[in-house]
């Protein structure tokens, strides 16, 4: 295996000096990229020409392999934080580099460098090439631009400066304090980032994009009669600052304060199996975790997913259609193309109860003899792409929300979930419910909180017996999904939905 010499690497990195033209950034108190054009950035600012890409790709395929790709990234992220009623902390993060991958069947060789010089890229490509051991594979002579729609257009060429962002955070915190006398602490944060990427493949594709992402969030702690509770709420997505109007600040303040105050009267529900009704929106993250991961094609290609033998089979009732959608305008999980250069799409996973598709990257697509579904995603240039979800949700069904709640004699209603995990092979999942209600005789009853619910993913799908017509995405703007040590932005949603039975992990037995 070729190794990058560490001392040489450090020297080159720290002493490159003016060898590369500094990328243009705007500074108006807020560090970000100038311009909103999607194409031409890396060539203009870093001298990454097609001929240089071809040279690096040729090195990556110098020992053979099916294909190779280059993933250039330059990301600038900023955040402002408020504690004690004033914005007293700021942060900026800059990430720059290129990942180089060689693929041979289902084998991957991968190297990356933070220095966009020919010498460093060739060294990383040589590392990636070690996965193969044959004769060289040819690289396409020309790179054709990948054309796609833009699912997150920016509203202006010049981003807003720092001052209105400071006002937004202070305004949100002020609205929080004005809404309840029980508040003893408010923390508010606004963060946004812009990521420029360019994917160049050995088979002739070149895809360039500018991906925005931003979110306004708040957390409050409330106290009443010696009892304390906390709650968190946010709004955001692939948006620019124009999205964050006074109405959004109000929505965040009302969401976080009302959530916290209601918890002051909440109880931990009894333990055991019971029917569960999911509210629309945020509980969609449970769907992502419990069901979505099992549909990622790498787990099925490796036969570790319980769904690997179920393609074409009935996995749910006919009113259930599950999609993974990279095209929802402004949603956090939307992408114009994936990190392999494949255009985004709305992929139907389960159609009227029948399993129709997995989520594919290029490797799994080739394995199954299909086209990629545009789900090859990665956290950054320091990671190789794997199948990942985008915005995952269930399509609206025939029922009304109220009739679903009225159909349950004794169960729980889940309004907010915070985090979860799935065991892909067994299909088991667990999800943490931060807020909900008991359902008694068809009516919403006592408030509940801080309870884990568990079940089997395939059984959950089979046990969905009612789906309402009120689909919502979460629009939290902050959720990311972790897999194999990589985090990628996603969103999820669902309509109101009834699951016949799940295990609720309370602290008492039912009836005790």
């Amino acid at each position: 295996m070729d190794r990058i010499d560490r001392r040489t690497f450090l020297k080159a990195t720290t002493a490159a000096g003016g060898a590369i033209v500094a990328a243009p950034v705007l500074f108006d108190g807020w560090l970000t990229f100038a311009g909103t054009e999607r194409a031409g950035y890396f060539e203009k600012e870093f001298g990454i020409t097609d001929s240089l890409c071809k040279k690096v790709l040729a090195k990556a395929l110098s020992k053979g392999g099916d294909f190779a790709d280059l993933y250039f990234e330059h990301t600038i992220s900023n955040s402002l934080g408020l504690e004690d009623k004033k914005v007293d902390r700021a942060s900026t993060s800059v990430n720059l580099g290129v990942g180089i991958r060689t693929v041979k069947g289902d084998q991957v060789g991968f190297g990356f460098t933070q220095e966009l010089t020919e010498k460093s890229m060739i060294a990383a490509a040589a590392m990636a090439a070690t996965i193969a051991d044959g004769s060289a594979t040819a690289v396409s002579g020309k790179f054709a631009a990948v054309k796609t729609d833009n699912y997150y257009p920016l509203t202006g060429t010049k981003p807003a400066p720092l001052t209105p962002r400071l006002s937004l955070v202070e305004n949100t915190a002020g609205k929080c304090f004005a809404r309840s006398n029980y508040i003893i602490k408010t923390i508010a944060r606004f963060g946004d980032g812009r990521k420029r990427i360019m994917v160049v493949t050995s088979d002739g594709a070149k895809a360039e994009d500018l991906l925005p992402g931003s979110a306004l969030s708040a957390m409050v702690t409330v106290e009443k009669d010696g009892r304390k509770e906390q709650f968190w709420f946010s709004r955001g997505g692939r948006r620019d600052f124009s999205y964050f109007t006074d109405d959004i600040a109000r929505e965040v303040a009302e969401g976080v304060v009302d959530g916290a105050v209601t918890l002051l009267d909440a109880v931990v529900p009894p333990a055991g199996e019971m029917p569960v009704v999911f509210a629309p929106g945020t509980p969609g993250f449970l769907l992502h975790e419990a069901v979505g991961h099992g549909f990622e094609a790498d787990f099925n290609r490796k036969k570790t997913s319980i769904y690997s033998t179920m393609m074409g089979q009935k996995v749910a009732e006919p009113m259930v259609t599950v999609v993974d959608d990279g095209t929802w305008p402004g949603a956090r999980g939307s992408i114009n193309f994936d990190d392999e250069g494949t255009p985004s799409q709305k992929t139907v996973l389960v159609e009227n109860g029948i399993l129709k598709s997995y989520l594919h990257d290029r490797i799994s697509a080739k394995h199954y003899g299909l086209s990629s579904t545009g789900n090859g995603r990665r956290e950054s240039y320091a990671h190789y792409p794997i199948p990942r979800m985008r915005n995952t949700y269930i399509l609206p069904g025939p029922n009304k929300p109220q009739e679903i709640i009225e159909s349950v004699k004794k169960g729980i209603y889940i309004q907010d979930v915070s985090n979860g995990q799935v065991n892909i092979g067994q299909g088991d999942f667990a999800f943490y419910v931060s807020r909900g209600r008991l359902i008694e005789n068809g009516k919403l009853g006592a408030l509940i909180k801080d309870v884990n619910i568990m079940g089997g993913g395939p059984k959950l799908l089979r046990d969905i017996t009612m789906v309402a017509d009120d689909l919502k995405l979460s629009w939290t703007g902050v959720h990311s999904c972790g897999k194999d040590g990589q985090w990628v932005p996603i969103d999820a949603g669902m309509p109101t939905m009834l699951v016949r039975s799940l295990t609720v992990g309370g602290t008492k037995k039912q009836g005790a």
């Binding site: 004033k86 942060s91 720059l96 915070s418 909180k449 801080d450």
Partner: protein, 440 residues
């Protein structure tokens, strides 16, 4: 100390000062990693790269910001710093934001923590592949025809860091880490495919031990999950296996954090000196353990490391208070960083304890769950083994335990004699009595 890294940090300190910042802290980390992963007896992933990351804390006219970049070209850095200083001037003043009093930098231990293996560069690619193949081969052999697939890996990493502050702190670290492991997927009679893993993490290549043991253990753990089912909701004794106790303790730990205490999000804020657990609950933070995964000589503020008792015989003795929140709370700082978290082992093995308890659940894995630092309520999914009559009866899955930390730690009745040494959580298996386990 890596002179090139030191020189760059020093240059940044000077540049920051010239740009108008009164004080600053500069940290530069460098990591070279190798990852080799096998599946189905061939390499699946080969990855190698070096990363550099710089963090700069700016203290400008009573204001604060933190900056991170990997674009270390001096021209780019100079512009980055200039912009960052300008941004910092625009946010609100915070009188509590300063570099620490340098007196806390003093007293740093002059010892070798034995966390860097000088032979890391002598390990050849062939040797690395041989380790992975041995892990994978043993897993296939031990799992037999029930095995669906095996993923085996070997990683090594060389990490270096340099930290300088404008008020005199200077520190550097160099460490190596080696990891070998396997995850094994097996097919159950109902086509469910439970996965289990085993691994070793250590600072020295030779401490990896026999790679075949790792592979065989992973297969044995996966086979032990076959036939899992849930039992009726019950109140039972629960044994949490050594390597997983941190999932429960982590929720307790959040409430020890000075930031959460200041934000009124800690159920332990008013419990100092009080009994918050049984006499068996002892927790010591020891950053000086040779070869420890959590060993260090100075923390993120530059404070000299100290061995501290956090909980003694169930009584809360200390918090984690970093410099900034100590000033906001008006108390003496301790440290915001954890070292090796040690819960002293007991005298009996898990097998002996199971025989003695008769009936209960041995928790071998957690799934999902969370803990509320404000209230102490937690709820978490579990996998494990149901035992009855002092013997393992069958594996359990899709079950849950829930409690409140202020009650749960009073239920700690015994620690086993099996401390887990491959993590900064050096904890033995722990026995809790009368836990509600949710199932059917």
């Amino acid at each position: 100390m890596n002179k090139q890294m030191y020189d760059l940090c020093k240059w940044v300190l000077d540049t920051v000062s010239k740009a108008g910042a009164k004080d600053s802290r500069v940290g530069l980390s460098k990591s070279r990693l190798v990852e080799i992963q096998y599946r189905d007896k061939k390499p699946e992933i080969i990855k190698q790269a070096t990363t550099l990351q710089m963090g700069i804390d700016l203290f400008v006219a009573g204001r604060y910001s933190s900056q991170n970049t990997c674009d270390l070209r001096k021209d780019a850095l100079k512009e980055f710093i200039s912009d960052a200083v300008s941004t910092t001037k625009l946010i609100a003043e915070d009188p509590y934001r300063t570099l620490p009093d340098p007196k806390y930098y003093k007293g740093r231990a002059d010892i070798d923590l034995k966390i860097a293996d000088a032979s890391i560069d002598e390990l050849s690619a062939e040797q690395e592949h041989t380790i992975v193949k041995a892990v994978e081969g043993a897993a296939w052999s031990a799992g037999g025809e029930k095995v669906v697939t095996v993923e085996a890996w070997f990683n090594d990493e060389l990490s270096e860091s340099v930290t300088l502050t404008s008020n005199g702190f200077s520190g550097d670290t160099r460490s190596t880490n080696f990891s070998a492991g396997a995850s094994v997927s097996v097919r159950d009679d109902d086509d469910r495919r439970p996965i289990a893993y085993d691994y070793v993490d250590c600072h020295f290549h030779k401490k990896l031990g026999n790679p075949e043991v790792i592979g065989a253990n992973a297969a044995r753990k996966a086979m032990a999950k076959l036939g899992a089912k849930k039992i009726a909701t019950a109140t039972l004794p629960v044994i949490i296996e050594n390597r997983n106790t941190h999932r429960i303790i982590g929720g307790f730990f959040d409430a020890l954090d000075g930031r959460n205490i200041y934000r009124k999000q800690s159920f332990l804020a008013d419990k100092m000196g009080q009994k918050i657990g049984s006499d068996k609950f002892v927790l010591v933070d020891d950053p000086f353990i040779p070869e420890g995964q959590g060993s260090w000589l100075y923390d993120g503020d530059g404070f000299a490391a100290k061995k501290r008792t956090i909980v003694e015989a169930g009584v809360l003795k200390d918090f984690y208070i970093e410099w900034y929140y100590s000033r906001k709370l008006g108390c003496e700082p301790t440290s915001g960083s954890t070292g090796n978290m040690v819960i002293p082992p007991g005298s009996r093995s898990v097998d002996e304890i199971i025989k003695d308890l008769g009936k209960g659940i041995l928790v071998t894995d957690f799934l999902g769950g969370n803990s509320n630092p404000t209230t102490g309520d937690f709820s978490v999914g579990i996998f494990g083994q149901f035992f009855d009559g002092g013997k393992i009866v069958h594996p359990v899955s899709e079950m849950n335990i829930a409690d409140n930390h202020l009650k749960f730690w009073h239920k700690l009745s015994e620690c086993a004699n099996d401390p887990w040494l491959y993590s900064d959580w050096r904890t033995p298996s722990m026995v809790f009595s009368d836990v509600v386990v949710s199932g059917v």
